[in-house]
């Protein structure tokens, strides 16, 4: 954002003589160039530049203060919106991790009691292996990409909260995290012994 500051004031140079070195002009280091022009024009062009310089200086000062104040005013709100949007997806992903990790660490005896067939146990083991390979950083990246995909599809309206309340289906349809979550649901559906508090309902938006 900082680079914008330099470009905010219009840069049209009224001073055709100085077209090539107007950057330097701002620093008032070009007196030598004026030696062969007459006093008056030199003076007026100096004033002109001085005026412009001053103009930009104050505009830039104001811009800097303004951008800081503007950021402060909106950052928290943006934070809240982002937080509420992602916390549910993170939670579902965490469920996959927690359930598969806790399961994999049970004794064989208990594993069998919770998943009665070899096939179910195998699925849980696969779920663990797939999810364990994904670090939190990777997961975050995947999630981030899925959001960006969703947002390029539908221009983000101000009410990003709508996205979060409207199921994570559209949002992360092609997401590996989501696939693993679906697998978890499916395993759970087939294994009533595992009693999961999976919140299929979406958070009710306040």
């Amino acid at each position: 954002m900082e680079h914008l500051n330099l470009e905010t004031a219009p840069r049209s140079s009224n001073d055709d003589k100085d077209l090539n070195d107007d950057d330097i002009d701002f620093w008032g280091e070009d007196e030598t160039l004026d030696t062969d022009t007459n006093e008056a024009s030199s003076h007026s062009s100096f004033l002109n530049r001085e005026w412009k310089r001053r103009h930009e200086q104050f505009h830039t000062m104001g811009y800097r203060d303004g951008i800081t104040a503007g950021k402060e005013a909106s950052a928290q709100e943006g934070f809240n919106v982002g937080f509420k949007q992602s916390v549910h997806s993170g939670y579902n992903w965490g469920l996959v991790r927690g359930i598969s990790s806790a399961y994999i660490n049970l004794s064989d005896d208990l594993k069998e009691k919770l998943a009665r067939t070899v096939e179910k146990r195998e699925r849980l083991r696969n779920l663990y292996q797939s999810s364990h390979k994904i670090s939190t950083m990777d997961a975050l990246k995947m999630y981030h990409e899925s959001i960006q995909r969703a947002e390029t599809k539908q221009e983000p309206s101000e009410s990003s909260s709508q996205i979060s309340s409207g199921d994570n289906g559209e949002l992360s349809m092609y997401n590996q995290l989501d696939d693993l979550f679906k697998e978890l649901i499916s395993i759970q559906h087939d294994s009533p012994e595992i009693d999961l508090k999976i919140e299929q309902r979406r958070e009710i938006p306040e």
Binding site: M1, G66, H88, M137, A139
Partner: protein, 144 residues
């Protein structure tokens, strides 16, 4: 407002006035740009933190769900003390206000949850960690 200035003194005033106008104009431009960029930056941070917090809570919830299922199918598998701790952890996770990132109590609640979780792990004698799992070394040093 003063009438249009002419003399050298007026000129100075006029300049100051113009400076101020320039400043205010810049401020206005900056403010509206700042609103947009601040919102975007804040949202980015929120997305990241929300996901991480959500993941951590979901992880605990998932563990609790599995352990509770174990208790259901084989109530003798865990000691009474562990069972109680699991029950409490479940309640703590359930009480965490996930949609209130500004709630003042969340840090304290998260600390309590982490401690409880570690206690259960220690009692069960298992290690459940993943890459990215909050190590909270600070916490360990302070409380253990």
């Amino acid at each position: 407002m003063e009438p249009k200035p002419t003399g050298p003194d007026d000129f100075l005033e006029y300049t100051v006035l113009l400076d101020e106008t320039q400043y205010n104009e810049g401020y206005r431009d900056g403010y509206s740009d700042g609103l947009i960029s601040g919102n975007e930056e804040g949202r980015g941070v929120g997305l990241k933190l929300g996901f991480q917090i959500g993941e951590e809570l979901g992880f605990y919830r998932g563990c609790v769900d599995v352990w509770k299922s174990v208790i259901r199918v084989d109530s003798g598998s865990f000691s009474l003390r562990i069972k109680k701790s699991i029950e409490q952890l479940g309640e703590l996770v359930g009480e965490y206000p996930r949609l209130e990132p500004e709630n003042e109590r969340i840090q304290e609640m998260m600390d309590t949850i982490r401690l409880k979780f570690r206690l259960i792990l220690a009692n069960l004698g298992v290690k459940l960690e993943y890459e990215g799992y909050p190590k909270s070394s600070k916490l360990e040093m302070e409380d253990i």
